[in-house]
Amino acid sequence: MQQITLTLPMIRDMELTASKTAGALGEHIGMSRDKIDEVRMAVVEACINAFEHSGARKREVHMRLLVLGEDADPRGLEITIQDKGTGFSHTEVVVSKKPTEPQKRGHGLRIIHGLMDDVEIQSDSDGTTVTMTKLR
């Protein structure tokens, strides 16, 4: 299993650097431009959630990029974005359907779900881990 791990500071625009690294690995496994863009956008949203909402004292995000499948025949990427913040109750935050009037915030998790093939969120008082998969 090939994987890249990154530790990034929670500072303005650092989500772009995270997203470009994920994009570079997408290129590496020959993902299409559109799917790479989807991965990049999901990484941006997961990172800014960690920056904005985690309340983590240690201002760091951990990202793991895992190539799924065989070296010669990669199947996709599994991306884990982790903060050591205070967590949230995922069941309380309603990931609602399309809103009926323009809604300003609360789109991040819905975007992540919408753009990735599979998303799992594990959150407790030790922090939040978003694990998302995109097939090639």
């Binding site: 625009d13 863009d37 399309k98 323009p102 789109h107 975007i111 919408g114 753009l115």
Partner: protein, 116 residues
């Protein structure tokens, strides 16, 4: 720190103006677009087109500010439309429900003939 969004504006016939974005639409980028949009509204433009051809990535905070512009436009009976989105940005706008309040056109020509 950088990667600042670059904006250019062009006034078209009538009360139409086009804002061209180049770069990442984040918090600051969205606010910059809003500033320019409100200036255009103040100078009598009621139809704004955002041409996103040179924007490959956005975030939901930046887009939430664009939604504020849409609301403002609805108030004054104006229109905000978008053109030249990447498939992923269009998908994101869809997920955010934004396409219900603002039209999205494939290219500037189509957009202008519909807005004008």
């Amino acid at each position: 720190m950088t990667e600042t969004l670059k904006l250019t504006v062009e006034s078209k016939t009538g009360d139409v103006a086009v804002i061209y974005t180049d770069g990442y639409i984040n918090n600051q980028g969205g606010e910059e677009i809003a500033r320019v949009a409100y200036e255009l509204i103040d100078s009598g433009h009621k139809k704004l087109l955002l041409n996103l051809a040179k924007t490959k990535i956005v975030n939901s905070i930046g887009i939430s500010i664009l939604i504020e512009i849409i609301e403002k436009m609805l108030e004054i009976d104006g229109r905000l439309a978008f053109c030249s989105l990447t498939p992923t940005i269009e998908k994101t706008f869809n997920i955010m429900g934004l396409t219900q309040y603002a039209a999205i056109y494939s290219d500037e020509e189509t957009a202008l003939s519909n807005l004008g």
